[in-house]
Subunit: 334 residues, 2 copies
């Protein structure tokens, strides 16, 4: 991989696309050129990057000529259709959609956990689900130290996970509700203002929804072992950061102080708490921030080696765009 | 207890007080007289009940003369101070605050579960915490059938749990936020509009907050056995219904169909789900409704006898006022 690659962003006009642009700029990502790709509808639009306007181009099968890295965030069906063309053109695709994540030919990477998996890529590297990334950043260092036997997770997921339009709709619907006006939801399929609902991804035969199965299955793939995770995913009327309540059972004895120590020195993780005033990380605190924030560590009184933990991270950032950019940075080093 | 008692409501002007009035009216509760008690600040205010205006009286130690049943919902310190005076005057106090709940001299009652405990009251009967009531209504019938070994609960609690002023503040703060205006929180001690936070009740030495310990300890008292419950309580920007994600481990083997059957025939519980369209109970669906609604039953893939369950109930209604009125109804029967 060259030092200054030609990069393309697929889905440049979406919520994650915007964040990818911001991160490339902020992290001073070395670039020879940057191509912005979107649907025909958005083609021609201009987006400012490092002080220059870049014209959005239409995503086609021929548009990857000369591109070294594709950051793909335009939806699973478009990744399925276009990633092979990008690979054929010689690019490595960092795919932020769910399409290739469980493909045994495709590594699934969180740079703080399994950066070595990047090496066996065959042109596509998958970025895990947002809720998975946030959870495993805290789970992995604890697992290495104490052995995680089982994890029960309940999520509090923001509108951003459903895209920029869902965020807009939540704002508009809330404004309407406060005015006592009717509102017809078109992005989210049920009332969302001052409401919450079990995650609306498709439900499988076993009763879990896809979002939950992603957290459960992707964790095993990232950890290279059969991880026991069960999840309940819930969408809450929050703009862009996801929260998670984790109940973790360890194989081995531990102390709360040791668990704090492990998390304090874990890459990508920050302990965020103000115990004196009983204040802990909230979505508004961490929106726009890089790390996943943890706190409220306490011994589960119902188990010998149980830990309760609160976790909040920016879904658009480390949960999506940042992890993808970190993978791209590893590609440059590799 | 006479057939048509003289009833007094302590805290008649609060959120639960208003719901108590509505329920007495709606359930055609037999009354000889109704006294509305509140602080000096609210005394003199008129509240309509069954077509008549009742003047709110000031809560004093002498105001319970001739009262048979007091429905107390004015806060723990006022219950502590005034309940003994009410008992001395011959009344039975149904206390909706936390003050007497764990007192071994005071029964803690959910009428669907342990109505017999009313019989040994010495003048005070405690109404459990709202999150506890909602949880145990589903847990108890499952426990009787399959033996509940351990429960992990994460809550999604509405503003109503913090009172009518918190609900108003959430509305005002959300309106301000949508206008891009600054807002100073005075009821809730942190930003709440489009935000959520771990429950702000006082934190104990072991790291659990009081709200969580209530769910854990009260369950054991209501079930008359040592129940293993661990909870994480979270306040979400919802108006008045609480949701709970429950992960339950049974002693015995079960099938999902049997679990549904148990819950379908459980008093106070309704199965609410539309599996075809992937729609489940939400706070807006159940606000103002009596039952606790359950759904999304699925086998926890990480345990032999594990069950995942989604639960939503109106915090002000069954979580507080309705349970208290049901206790009063049992007193009339008894």
């Amino acid at each position: 991989m060259m030092n200054k690659p030609n990069v393309a962003i697929m889905g440049a006009t979406g919520a994650v696309g915007a964040e990818l642009l911001e991160l490339l700029e902020e992290r001073n990502f070395p670039l020879n050129s940057l191509k912005l790709l979107a649907s025909a509808r958005s083609a021609g639009k201009k987006i400012n990057f490092r002080g220059e306007d870049i014209t959005v181009e239409e995503l086609t099968h021929d548009c990857f000529e000369g591109v070294d890295i594709v950051l793909a965030s335009a939806g699973g069906s478009l990744s399925k259709e276009y990633a092979p063309s990008a690979v054929k053109a010689g690019a490595v695709v960092v795919d932020n959609t769910s399409h290739y994540r469980m493909d045994p030919e495709v590594p699934l990477v969180v740079p703080e956990i399994n950066p070595e998996d990047i090496k066996w890529n065959k042109g596509i590297i998958a970025n895990p689900n947002c809720s998975t990334i946030l959870m495993v950043l805290a789970l992995w260092p604890l697992h290495k130290k104490f052995g995680v036997k089982r994890t029960v997770c309940s999520t509090y997921q923001a509108a951003s996970g459903a895209g920029a339009l869902a965020m807009q709709e939540l704002e508009q619907e809330t404004a309407a509700k406060l005015q006592g006006e009717d509102f017809e939801n078109t992005v989210i399929n049920q009332p969302y203002a001052f409401n919450l609902f079990p995650h609306n991804s498709p439900m499988k035969e076993n009763g879990y929804v896809e979002e939950e199965l992603k957290m459960m299955n992707e964790t095993s793939k990232i950890f290279h072992e059969d991880s026991k995770v069960t999840a309940t995913c819930v969408r809450v009327p929050i703009m862009r950061a996801h929260s998670e309540s984790l109940n973790i059972e360890f194989d081995n004895a531990y102390t709360i102080e040791e668990a704090y120590e492990v998390l304090r020195s874990a890459p990508g993780v920050e302990v965020f708490e103000n115990r004196e005033e009983n204040l802990w990380a909230t979505p508004l605190d961490v929106s726009g921030k890089d790390p996943v924030y943890v706190g409220r560590l306490r011994r589960d009184v119902t188990l010998d080696n149980g830990l309760e933990l609160w976790l909040v991270g920016d879904q658009v950032r480390k949960g999506a765009a940042l992890n993808a950019v970190q993978i791209a940075e590893l590609l440059l080093e590799g």
